[in-house]
């Protein structure tokens, strides 16, 4: 395949080609993956720092497999959506995105703590550049906030990794998750848990560490928001599942109520804040905080339904919020505004777009038949077993979610046309239609047949749930 790298389109085609190749390869993994094995598969080991017994060790289980596929699915969409909107420094843009994709996949399949940390941190560099170079007006503030917040959270994680390494002599995740649970006495476990928590809570983000997220989302370019909401913040939840629970079960149990409280606050508070937003991106960013609240709540219910629901919600939110940000990007490309008050009546001019946006809105609300429902329902059911009050409070978040999302839909897509520019806009182009259409397809498919995804992580989530009896 010969690509003319002289013009910007050539770079996009190259980037798309590489990322689609990645998608094909990761889909191949889906078929090769054996669902009946609970352990890690496709493992590879190289000695890395021999006198420290730190190895390059990768492998996947059902949870990481789906996250990898999600990453590989969203990256080409990001690139495809940017073809028309980003015209400056295209080469660097494509490089940054392929780098992010590679590092995220690396983080999801790393089976060595230090390697996970390296991937986890390294993706700050391209993301910092994506927000800072191609972002909105206030991009520099947002890029700094994003970088320093995350770095600050993860240095404690690094100290904890070094301490674990010094006490146990290994950073191998497989052997640590078997051996570490009874290794430290509870007081130590609590400190370790908090050090891990500092990093993952910033990344998820949980209340009250969420303030970087709205800023980063509002300022980032469309593709940056898509990848941030779709994948990067899932790494925090993935960290809880992969490290916090198996390494420190007793401490996890000890802090479960604390996390329930934070999650419920996140769900209700973020929903209320989202109601009052004037900026579409900011509203969806706050809805992300609320939806990730369901994820952390589900994980720390320690029930199978809760953990299944959390993972399902991660995948569903990965697609839905990415799609919603893409929708905002579609509007922004045409009208150059993200303010809700400047919009209205788009459905008249863009019927196809309105239909797809409706599907994503309803999925975000959690309507039965969409993937959003499965995740929210399961995590609330799981939490109900663990703590009834929390579950009831969290359910109110679903109602609030319906309030702000449907209100948003009404104000932007329906109602009368205030903005005279809306008269001239055209409906979705081919690439936009294909990418949004594919996302909508998966949202409905996973809503009707959740087992397609659930069957992959049945065993690992059962293992996690068995670790701790609530």
């Amino acid at each position: 395949m010969v690509v003319n790298l002289k013009n910007s389109r050539g770079y996009y085609i190259y980037g798309l080609f590489i990322s689609l190749l990645n998608l094909v390869l990761s889909c191949k993994l889906l078929f090769l993956f054996d669902k009946k094995i609970a352990d890690f598969q496709f493992t590879e080991i190289f000695s890395f720092i021999s006198n420290h017994d730190i190895k390059y060790f990768v492998g996947i289980d059902g949870i990481s497999l789906l996250m990898i596929v999600l990453t590989a699915f969203l990256t080409p969409i990001c690139l495809a959506l940017s073809i028309n909107s980003i015209q400056k420094r295209v080469k660097e843009f494509v490089i940054a995105f392929l780098l992010i994709e590679g590092l995220v996949i690396g983080a999801f399949c790393a089976l060595d703590l230090l390697f996970f940390y390296i991937f986890f941190e390294a993706m700050l560099i391209p993301m910092f550049l994506v927000i800072g170079i191609w972002g909105g007006e206030n991009r520099i503030y947002a890029a700094y906030k994003f970088f320093l917040y995350t770095l600050f959270g993860s240095v404690l994680f690094l100290i904890a990794i070094i301490l674990i390494y010094i006490y146990t002599g290994t950073t191998d995740i497989v052997s640590l998750s078997k051996g570490l649970k009874n290794f430290f006495p509870l007081p130590y476990q609590k400190w370790f848990f908090l050090a891990f928590f500092a990093s993952f809570a910033v990344k998820v983000p949980m209340f009250p560490f969420h303030t970087w997220l709205p800023d980063a989302h509002v300022q980032a370019p469309t593709a940056g928001s898509v990848i941030l909401a779709g994948i990067l913040i899932k790494l925090g939840a993935y960290g809880f599942l992969r490290f916090s629970l198996p390494f420190f079960p007793a401490a996890s149990q000890y802090f479960a109520n604390f996390i329930f409280v934070l999650s419920v606050i996140a769900i209700i508070y973020a929903s209320l804040v989202a109601l009052m937003q004037e900026d579409m991106k900011k509203m969806i960013a706050y809805s992300s905080v609320a939806h990730m609240g369901f994820v952390t709540m589900g994980i720390f219910s320690f029930t199978r339904q809760g953990i299944d629901g959390a993972i399902m919600q991660m995948i569903s939110h990965g697609i839905v919020s990415a799609a919603l940000f893409a929708c905002v990007g579609v509007i922004y490309d045409r009208l150059h505004t993200k303010q809700i008050k400047d919009l209205g009546g788009i459905a008249n001019k863009m019927p196809n777009f309105a239909m797809l946006a409706m599907i994503f809105t309803l999925a975000s609300v959690g309507l039965p038949g969409t993937s959003g429902f499965v995740g929210e329902f399961l995590s609330i059911v799981g939490t109900f077993k663990a703590n009834k009050i929390v579950a009831i409070l969290a359910t109110s978040g679903v109602v609030l979610g319906a309030c702000y999302m449907l209100w948003l839909y009404k104000r932007v897509w329906f109602s009368e046309i205030h903005n005279q520019h809306i008269g001239h806009i055209s409906d979705l182009g081919k690439t936009e239609l294909i990418s949004l259409g594919l996302m909508a397809l998966f949202v409905i498919l996973l809503g009707i047949l959740p087992n397609l995804a659930l069957s992959f992580f049945e065993l690992p989530s059962a293992q996690l749930a068995n670790l701790i009896k609530p």
Partner: protein, 475 residues
């Protein structure tokens, strides 16, 4: 008695004198003499390097236990001479500018390096002092080399006065040690105060006081806070190439000499680690907070170097082979980064007033340099997978192993603060529009060196194993 152990120093020193002699006889006659002396100095460095590699395998102690040459010293000298070679390599533009005194400039660089080499090999406080002075006197002259610039003269004067004070402190410390123990030889001192016969010969307070004075003087030389005051002024005032030399060769040899002093003098250093921790914490604080407010790029790099020295001193605080290996690794990576980032300064045309904000928009005007410089900045900030992360990782691991957990946490938090101003440089280069584009010289040799140093920062992750193993073997 064999002279083989000291041959590298002799070669480098006499080579420097040879260049000076040539200058006297041919300097006025030949128009292109600066070019010849430049090539000559590179040749001498290469010969010295060859002699050093001969000494790698054997340990020799000569001159009545005063001078030692073993694997560690040979390794340190090899790195120092390699750094010197790179500095000379990228100094061609500067040598062209100062044609009349080019031979003196090159000779001073080489004499300073040979002083540093003697410092590393010293096994006796007298040799230690001689090496230190040989290096320091050349450095004073180098700082004041740019005669027409007020700032350069000021830098040289400041450095000279404060450096003399430090030397005085060192001599006072040595005389205290001599007065109360009767010897200044490292081996004799180790025999006297070895921890195993600590009951028989407890260290007198005065000797301990002397050691602390010696270490204080060394803190001055490596510019650790609170003895750092000269660093920003000298770095700012000196010519960029001289600053590069200060940050790489001079700093590397001084730190290695201090490390060797600590590892050879096996005495009961009880309680002294508190001094190191204090100095390390102060250096980290000064380095990270001081740099935030700097407008001049050279001063910013000077403060950043103080912060790095803080990390190294913290590593020294936990005595032991593992932490010393971590310190050496840190200095290697730091020298690597410095060669690139200070080397960039030599490219700038108007280096006297190089403000940080003049870097804005460099990614548009010179994308290659901007890329290399941002790799170096991310690496200094300690972001994985770049080399700077691993240097910090080894130090932190070593000191946590020795039970200094709380200081490790503080050090890492300081490094997050310092990440802010490294990010600022990247931000200026990539996010901002060029205001008044930076005038860069077109020296392909300098650019190549910067690119290579950035590249090594990127790929060092694959060579950690052999590198760390060999450092551990040298110790």
């Amino acid at each position: 008695m064999s002279f083989i152990a000291i041959i590298p120093e002799i070669t480098l020193f006499s080579g420097a004198l040879f260049i000076l002699m040539c200058d006297v006889f041919f300097g006025k006659k030949l128009k292109e003499f600066f070019y010849i002396s430049h090539l000559l100095s590179l040749l001498i460095c290469a010969i010295t390097l060859v002699f050093i590699t001969q000494n790698f395998v054997k340990t020799e102690v000569i001159f009545n236990q005063m001078f030692v040459s073993n694997a560690l010293t040979s390794f340190a000298k090899a790195v120092a001479v390699l750094l010197l070679t790179i500095v000379i390599l990228i100094s061609l533009g500067f040598v062209y500018k100062i044609q009349k005194i080019s031979a003196e400039f090159l000779a001073l660089l080489m004499i300073a390096t040979s002083g540093g080499m003697i410092l590393i090999s010293a096994n006796d406080f007298l040799v230690f002092y001689l090496g230190l002075e040989l290096q320091a006197l050349s450095l004073y002259l180098l700082a004041a080399l740019n005669r027409t610039s007020e700032k350069s003269s000021e830098a040289g004067m400041k450095y000279f006065i404060l450096g003399c004070l430090a030397s005085g402190i060192l001599l006072f410390g040595i005389s205290m040690i001599y007065g109360f123990s009767g010897t200044v030889n490292f081996k004799a001192l180790t025999d006297l105060y070895h921890p195993e016969n600590a009951e028989a010969n407890a260290i007198p307070v005065a000797v301990m006081f002397g050691f602390i004075l010696v270490i204080t003087a060394m803190f001055f030389k490596i510019s650790a806070a609170p003895f750092h005051m000269w660093t920003p002024d000298v770095y700012e005032g000196s010519a960029a190439i001289v600053t590069t030399f200060f940050a790489t060769v001079a700093k590397f040899t001084a730190v290695l000499a201090l490390l060797r002093l600590l590892s050879t003098l096996v005495i009961g250093w009880n309680g002294i680690e508190k001094v190191f921790i204090l100095v390390a914490m102060l250096s980290l604080a000064v380095g990270s907070f001081g740099a935030i407010f700097q407008k001049n790029f050279k001063r910013l790099l000077a403060y950043s170097s103080i912060g790095h020295i803080g990390f190294v001193v913290l590593g020294m605080a936990s005595f032991g082979p593992e932490s010393f290996a971590a310190c050496i690794f840190y200095m290697l990576v730091y020298a690597l980064i410095s060669i690139g980032s200070f080397g960039f300064l030599t490219l700038v045309k108007d280096e006297e007033n190089l403000s940080v904000s003049s870097l804005s928009g460099l990614a548009k005007t010179n994308p290659t340099m901007a890329f290399a410089l941002s790799v170096l900045m991310f690496s200094t900030a300690g972001i994985p997978p770049l080399a700077g992360f691993f240097s910090k990782f080894y130090i932190i691991t070593a000191i946590i192993k020795n039970g200094l957990l709380i200081y490790a946490i503080i050090a890492i938090l300081f490094s997050v603060i310092s990440a802010f101003y490294y990010l600022r440089i990247v931000k200026l280069m990539y996010f901002d529009e060029p205001q008044n584009p930076l005038q860069l010289e077109d020296f392909s040799n300098v650019k190549l060196v910067i690119l290579i140093s950035a590249l090594i920062n990127l790929i060092l992750i694959f060579f950690l194993n052999p590198l760390m193993n060999s450092i551990t073997n040298f110790l």
